[in-house]
């Protein structure tokens, strides 16, 4: 990894990113389902808990974050599975460029099609759930920085379980507990900015999490892929 991003590594990164985006575009359902899942789960909470705007407003940030977490988990399953089944993953592992960047490209493509739409629609759901207006910016920005972390963490779990024929709920058991710090940071940021705490402090914490995940998680995913394909 010494000669980071030489022209060819960048080329392979872009080609992989583009390939995954094209695949996602051609399988629109795979792209749409997590998004619809997010919308439906988030709207189930008022039905299940209360229509009272006051109480909804209190829980809305948590509802949005948990829905985003579950939607990200649901979308994760596609990340490496088809590549594993059709043998593309072996090509990826035998590429002369650092696997780190290729895994990063796949994670980025995955987030762009499954994480970003959720972030973009979150203000609308926040409005429906009566989130206080002062918190919109915080919620949006923390989701924007936090959902990539969820994708990066989930990628490790998917890479570890990609060889399993029927993986059932094991992916959830492995990855959900790992997402707890992100969930805490995201929901606390919303609540604390409502109490008048400075937004920047929470963005800094979120940013630190994102940077840590960006540097370490693809390395773990890459190692996990090598183990699974072995």
């Amino acid at each position: 990894m010494s000669q980071a991003a030489s022209p060819s590594t960048g080329h392979a990164f872009l080609a992989t990113l583009k390939r995954d985006l094209v695949i996602a575009y051609k399988r629109k359902n795979d792209m749409l389902n997590p998004f619809m899942f997010f919308l439906i789960v988030a709207t189930l909470f008022p039905i299940g808990i209360t229509p009272d705007p006051e109480r909804l407003g209190e829980i809305s940030a948590g509802v949005l974050w948990i829905s985003a977490l579950l939607a990200s988990l649901l979308a994760m399953d596609n990340l490496y599975r088809s590549d594993y089944e059709d043998g593309s993953l072996e090509q990826l592992l035998l590429c002369p460029y650092p696997l780190y960047y290729l895994v990063l490209a796949k994670n980025l493509a995955h987030w762009l099609v499954s994480g970003l739409p959720v972030v973009l629609v979150s203000p609308l759901i926040a409005y429906m759930l009566n989130l206080p207006q002062e918190a919109y910016l915080t919620l949006f920005l923390t989701l924007l920085m936090g959902t990539p972390v969820l994708s990066l963490l989930g990628s490790i779990g998917v890479a570890l379980t990609v060889g399993l024929g029927s993986r059932g709920l094991i992916l959830a058991v492995i990855t959900l507990p790992m997402s707890v710090p992100v969930l805490i940071a995201g929901t606390l940021a919303v609540q604390q900015t409502l109490n008048g705490a400075p937004l920047l402090a929470y963005l800094a914490i979120m940013g630190a999490m994102l940077l840590t995940a960006l540097t370490l998680a693809p390395l773990a995913s890459a190692a996990a892929l090598r183990i699974s394909v072995n």
Binding site: I156, P177, L188
Partner: protein, 248 residues
């Protein structure tokens, strides 16, 4: 530096023979410490002026909780050895440490909520950060056990679990701090604490130390016994195991 001891350590046979010599001593010490600790803790600790007799549960709780924190670091070290040096023994230890760690975490949670049911009047209290992060450690350990049982190939399972243990170990630390932070900012309605500031006299901490030693010995003995079973099973085709079995 001489590394022969390290390679020797990797030999299951060497481990089996060494632990055969150690086990009687370890088990003896464990029985003594456990007997003294349990009897002292449960029957002889004087009632605390604030917590009354509940400190007796706390002694066991503290000892088990302290030990259960050792599992992830242990598994992460074993996992690193598995991934870097391919030492089979490290994986045999890690494989048995995961379910044992899950049990220790579970007992910590159970004794904690038992204590809480008396002191706090509730079996579960979200405002105790330690209980909450212990719960997530429990979940993560269950995840490692689940991954191990899902993967059929021994070698793949060993390395996948090794990686997950390392990731989990880092994660447990982050979870611990974020839960504490979450806890502080949610300002618990009443200042509940399990440290029991009132209960820190020698009549409390001496049996606690005895109990901690006892539980660590119990942990070591359980892990060694389980690892020895694993060795016999995996090396069943080796000459020395067959000889051992035919003698018995």
């Amino acid at each position: 530096m001489n590394w022969t001891w390290f390679h020797k350590l990797g030999s299951p046979k060497w481990f089996y023979e060494l632990t055969s010599k150690w086990l009687p001593w370890l088990i003896g010490a464990m029985v003594i410490f456990l007997a003294v600790g349990v009897v002292w803790a449960l029957l002889y600790i004087p009632p605390d002026y604030q917590q009354s007799y509940t400190t007796r549960i706390l002694v066991i709780h503290v000892a088990v909780a302290g030990t259960s924190l050792a599992f992830f670091p242990l598994m992460a070290v074993a996992g690193t050895i598995t991934l870097v040096w391919r030492m089979k023994l490290a994986d045999m230890v890690a494989k048995n440490a995961a379910p044992l760690g899950a049990w220790f975490s579970f007992i910590t949670l159970a004794t904690g909520s038992l204590w809480g049911s008396v002191m706090w009047g509730t079996w579960w209290e979200w405002s105790d950060a330690r209980l909450v992060s212990m719960l997530f450690q429990f979940f993560l350990l269950v995840g490692v056990v689940a991954l191990r049982s899902a993967l059929e190939d021994n070698d793949t399972a060993a390395r996948a679990c090794a990686l997950l243990s390392i990731v989990g170990c880092i994660n447990v630390v982050i979870i611990k701090y974020s839960v504490e932070w979450w806890n502080v900012l949610h300002q618990p309605s009443s200042p509940l604490s399990m440290s029991g500031e009132s209960a820190n006299g020698p009549e409390f901490w001496v049996p606690t130390v005895v109990m901690i030693v006892a539980v660590y010995l119990f942990f070591a003995v359980s892990l060694i016994l389980a690892t020895r079973n694993e060795i016999l099973q995996r090396e069943r085709k080796a000459a020395w195991v067959q000889e051992l079995v035919s003698k018995a």
